[in-house]
Amino acid sequence: MSERGSIHHLKATDFSELYPSALTNVELRGALAFGTKLVSNRRDNTVAAVDDWQDLRDRASSIKTDVLSNLDQYLQVFEQQAQASGTHVHWASTPAEACSIITGLAEAQGAKLAVKSKSMVSEEIGLNQALEESGVRPVETDLGEWIVQIAGETPSHIVAPALHRSREDVRELFARVLGRPMPEDAEGLTEVARLELRQAFADADIGISGANFLVAETGSFLILENEGNIRMTTSLPRMHIALVGIEKVLPRLSDLDVFLRVIGRSGTGQRLTSYQTLVTGPRRTSDDDGPDEVHVVLLDNGRSSLLAEEVTSQTLGCIRCGACLNTCPVYRQIGGHAYGSVYPGPIGSILTPQLAGLHQASQLPFASSLCGACRDVCPVKIDIPEVLLHLRAKSVADGPRVRDAVTHQKIRRQVGGFKMWSWAMRSPRRYRMAGRVARVMAWMATRLPFIGRCSGPLRGWTKGRVLPTPPRRSFRAQMARRKQSGTPGGGASS
């Protein structure tokens, strides 16, 4: 299995340039505010209606912990059971391997057209590009994903790929790409997409999807959706290929009970998604429809390297519901594209550097106020702030080889400061001196603004914020005087 993976079109090292332009994009921020608020409010309301929500989270989390501690065994059982039901199972340790397995299957089929349902793993490995290069035209059939595809973009959200686009935006895009006037309303626009996609379903040689869960016990995979496009993708073409990360396996069919209850509520604020497609092997003679061949491609791409430590392995518990993105105050301001990774937001900030290597995305773990809103909503209880802190500490401790240029500069500037700080904080006398210096500096900067503009942290602060007017005397000085004058509370003095 591979040590470290890679992510297609990763440009998280450009984070420092990407996010400022997102912040000044008024349309983007309007769409983000609307979309994230809508979904996270729905999520909060449906979750509030569940009495045993915390219990469900505990159960989901403990099933995932068990899976990740015994991943090899569950995957073996899955493989055996899947094969027994007639599904072909392929193992890919790298994106290149996964792409060549899939393009090889397409070639053997003589395929020219593939319909795809939304799959973040296919984005991760750059499958569409690989298909195009081997002469197969991929057509995305999830509405949001199709919008993103015809716009020549990548998804900005793992559940709602076109969250960054407003309805007017989509209307203009459709009109431009299809070369005809478009209806104003969302229903009308959806109808346009439906008609465009209908022909692709009829013509497709293969269907490609991801999967939300693999079930070891039965060798099945489950895909959840609301548009019906996945049901068509898995049943109309002659061949179906599911591309799935190895961490998606669950031991038993009954485990779906818990996960179906948490994933819809967390992801879209639905009690249950409109469609649940459970695929167990190809079409049987008694079946009305379904593919003649079913393939599952199991992708590692760096995932197994996360299993070594508890702090990192919890990342693999993620069920890609996207709740952490919707609630994250940073994501809500800058959107998904700014992260420069197919996996944005809080989960992306821990998953991207761990899959692709910290040096490829070392700015992301620092792009957080550590507010913990992500941890609160996570249905499998991933302690995202803990992992962010772990990755920050790794950036500092492991040196330049794990940092990108921007992180390296930042940490290099901070090293001396934190050394001095810790030296000052270890002695009350030095601490008092340092405090006095800080207050004098702040006092001077409130009177002479140019001071605030020249030095490091002060400059960051005074960009858009007024400095507090520092007090003449510190709390400790006032407590010491209070003690001298005989008022209680002065306590032991050094």
């Binding site: 996010y19 400022p20 912040l23 105050p329 940073v330 809500r332 301001q333 620092f366 792009a367 106020s369 550590l370 507010c371 809103a373 609160d376 802190l389 920050r392 500490a393 790794k394 950036s395 500092v396 401790a397 930042k410 940490i411 901070q414 934190f418 050394k419 700080w421 810790s422 000052a424 904080m425 270890r426 009350p428 601490y431 405090g435 800080a438 207050r439 942290p457 400059r459 960051g460 602060w461 960009k463 858009g464 914020r465 007024v466 507090p468 520092p470 007090p471 005397r473 510190s474 709390f475 400790r476 407590m479 010491a480 209680p488 509370g489 002065g490 306590g491 032991a492 003095s493 050094s494």
Partner: protein, 246 residues
């Protein structure tokens, strides 16, 4: 009850009024407040920035002093007028190893944020405080999500004479401070503050009240930049107030 007061470096140096108010409130509730002049910082700035060894050396010092107050000076609890520093003293258990981890465990078991201490330990909600005006509460992230503090400050504020508490929809959204995050990514940090302040300015409040001086520094700094007349006040400052002049 004899308590050790952990002031936090930010309150000590930049908002002593909140520290003094907290001491006054605690004494009014019958506590004997001991402030050890040797204390400095809990180590949080370095811990959150990834500088673990620097954080460890500062944190272990704080933990030792507090443990000494518990074990040798007869203090029964540690009270801190900051949820994030109190939460850091909980993180210390994992940060520090060996014998120090045991000390950290003792400290973590007895450390309380001011509002939670007043309500949960002392059972005091009515402090006979008076402050006339309309305010809203900002849930500081670490107090809210690491320590589970949500109702206590609201109970305390609801008993303040003349005070009208209005809830903001964004009450539990981060203010955008986040320690070094606020100066290394100021654009995002300010956008986060603005999302809250846009709502705050529609509520007709005179002040936003919080349990963490760092959030207040961020919110006040931004409010003043925006030319707003809304003030930032620490919970302790309201609770210590006896006069009806905001």
């Amino acid at each position: 009850m004899k308590i050790a007061f952990f002031a936090s470096c930010l309150i000590d140096q930049f908002r002593p009024s909140a520290g003094l108010a907290a001491v006054e409130v605690l004494e009014r509730c019958g506590c004997e407040v001991v402030f050890d002049q040797r204390q400095t910082c809990c180590g949080q700035p370095a811990f959150n920035s990834g500088f673990k060894s620097e954080a460890r050396s500062v944190c272990s010092r704080a933990v030792k002093l507090l443990d000494e107050q518990l074990e040798q000076q007869g203090c029964e609890a540690i009270v801190c007028p900051s949820g994030s520093c109190a939460a850091m003293l909980h993180h210390a258990v994992q940060l520090l190893g060996g014998a120090e981890a045991q000390m950290a465990q003792r400290v973590a078991a007895r450390v309380y944020e001011l509002g939670a201490f007043l309500v949960d330990v002392l059972g005091c909600t009515d402090l006979e405080a008076a402050w006339s005006g309309r305010v809203t509460w900002h849930d500081a992230c670490h107090g809210l999500r690491d320590l589970g503090i949500r109702d206590q400050p609201r109970q305390l504020l609801s008993k303040v004479r003349g005070l009208e508490l209005v809830e903001a929809k964004t009450c539990d959204r981060c203010c955008g401070f986040g320690g070094t995050f606020s100066v290394s990514m100021p654009g995002i940090s300010l956008a986060m503050a603005d999302e809250k302040l846009d709502e705050l300015e529609t509520l007709g409040v005179e002040a936003v009240v919080s349990g963490d001086a760092s959030c207040l520094m961020q919110l006040e700094g931004r409010l003043r930049e925006r030319g707003s007349s809304i003030k930032g006040l620490h919970l302790a400052e309201i609770l210590a107030s006896r006069e009806s002049d905001p």
